[in-house]
């Protein structure tokens, strides 16, 4: 299994499950055999950034794995581990896994698939939640860490609001010509701001 794990790391789900070649796979053609051969020696699948996976996509993953492992079990009977933070980016154009399921769309095929995907998510049997922050350790960071964790939960206090406001460019008025700012990369959201700073 060893080398195989190395090979697969860094692959996107679409490429490792050949999700873009699904139509061609229907008639049991070459790509289906490729898929089966590819997954033959794998027992574990780790998926990071799970917050970006939508219900419909999860169903697609499970179906593709079933095809790959030639088993009708959930996720093809593969051992599967999802990692991620649902406060991060939500899926594009799909219902997220932790969103409430909607039942008014079950009249459509798509809506039914969404529900199936949600059920797949609910079938997770082992959950480990990590709580202690490892990156910004140290007492000097504790205030910043607390602020971040409140921001993460969407429970900022008025004091936090003031801290964030005090960091606004319009309040900081940096001297762009000063030594400390001269070589500092500045990341801005729009061209207008960029031009204003570069002027």
């Amino acid at each position: 299994m060893g080398v195989a794990v190395q090979n697969i790391s860094g692959m996107t789900l679409h490429s490792c499950l050949m999700l873009n070649q699904q139509k061609a796979r229907g008639n049991g053609g070459k790509s289906k055999r490729d898929l089966v051969a590819m997954w033959q020696n794998f027992d574990y699948l780790l998926i990071d950034e799970v917050s970006m996976i939508g219900c419909n996509f999860l169903l697609q993953i499970s179906q593709a794995l079933s095809e790959a492992k030639e088993s009708s079990d959930l996720f093809g009977g593969l051992n599967i581990v999802f990692a991620g933070d649902f406060a991060q980016l939500p899926p594009v154009g799909q219902r997220g896994l932790i969103q409430k399921s909607v039942t008014h769309r079950v009249s459509t095929y798509q809506g039914q698939n969404t529900l199936f995907g949600k059920l797949l998510w609910l079938s997770i049997s082992t959950v480990v939640l990590l709580k202690s922050i490892m990156h910004q350790q140290g007492t000097e960071n504790s205030r910043f860490m607390e602020l971040l964790s409140r921001l993460h939960q969407g429970r900022c206090s008025d004091e936090d609001f003031d801290i964030f406001n005090s960091c606004l460019l319009s309040n900081v008025h940096p001297d762009w010509k000063a030594e400390e700012w001269l070589n500092a990369p500045v990341i801005v959201p729009t061209n207008e701001v960029k031009d204003a700073i570069n002027m």
């Binding site: 299994m1 794990v5 051992n79 997770i124 082992t126 939640l129 990590l130």
Partner: protein, 161 residues
């Protein structure tokens, strides 16, 4: 029912006649008791029924889809509360013919995982060393910077060995 059968075999002199209803009464009583017990049992444990099913060896195949109880439990657990996820301990009888080449505890130490991370890692690592386990279906959650990626790279390293 078995009680009656036993009594019958032990007490051979007892003869049942057509108009003797004592046995019938006894059966009726036993039946009522069983019915009562099941009724009570089902009501009391109705909210456990899904997890009970999971533990039953016969029905474990059917319980692939559950009601998300694990996720619910994990997310509603207050901070500081003890986590009830059973850590699978090494059971010598369950270990595959090829025992793990790597020491899980040594890896936990090497990657300096904290308790939570170690729990996540050993769940995966121990699962992989055991035979006849249900497929692992696991969610590893945590805000940014809690070291999810650290666990993932430890697992990657573990499988490379």
């Amino acid at each position: 029912m078995t009680d009656c059968a036993e009594r019958l075999s032990n007490d051979k002199v007892q003869h049942v006649s057509d108009n003797d209803t004592s046995l019938e009464d006894e059966w009726q009583h036993a039946y009522d008791q069983r019915k009562q017990y099941w009724k009570h049992h089902t009501i009391k444990d109705s909210h456990h029924s899904l997890s009970d099913r999971t533990s039953s060896p016969i029905l474990s195949q059917m319980s692939n889809i559950n009601d998300g109880q694990s996720l619910h439990n994990a997310f509603t657990k207050k901070a500081g509360e003890t986590i009830s996820i059973p850590i699978v301990v090494h059971d010598p009888e369950n270990i595959v013919s090829k025992p793990p080449k790597v020491d899980i505890n040594a890896m936990i130490h090497e990657f300096s995982l904290n308790t939570e991370q170690a729990r996540a890692f050993s769940l995966i690592a121990t699962h992989s060393t055991q035979n006849d386990m249900e497929p692992l279906c696991m969610f590893l959650g945590g805000a940014g910077g809690t070291g999810k990626s650290c666990v993932i790279s430890t697992v990657q390293e573990f499988f490379k060995c």
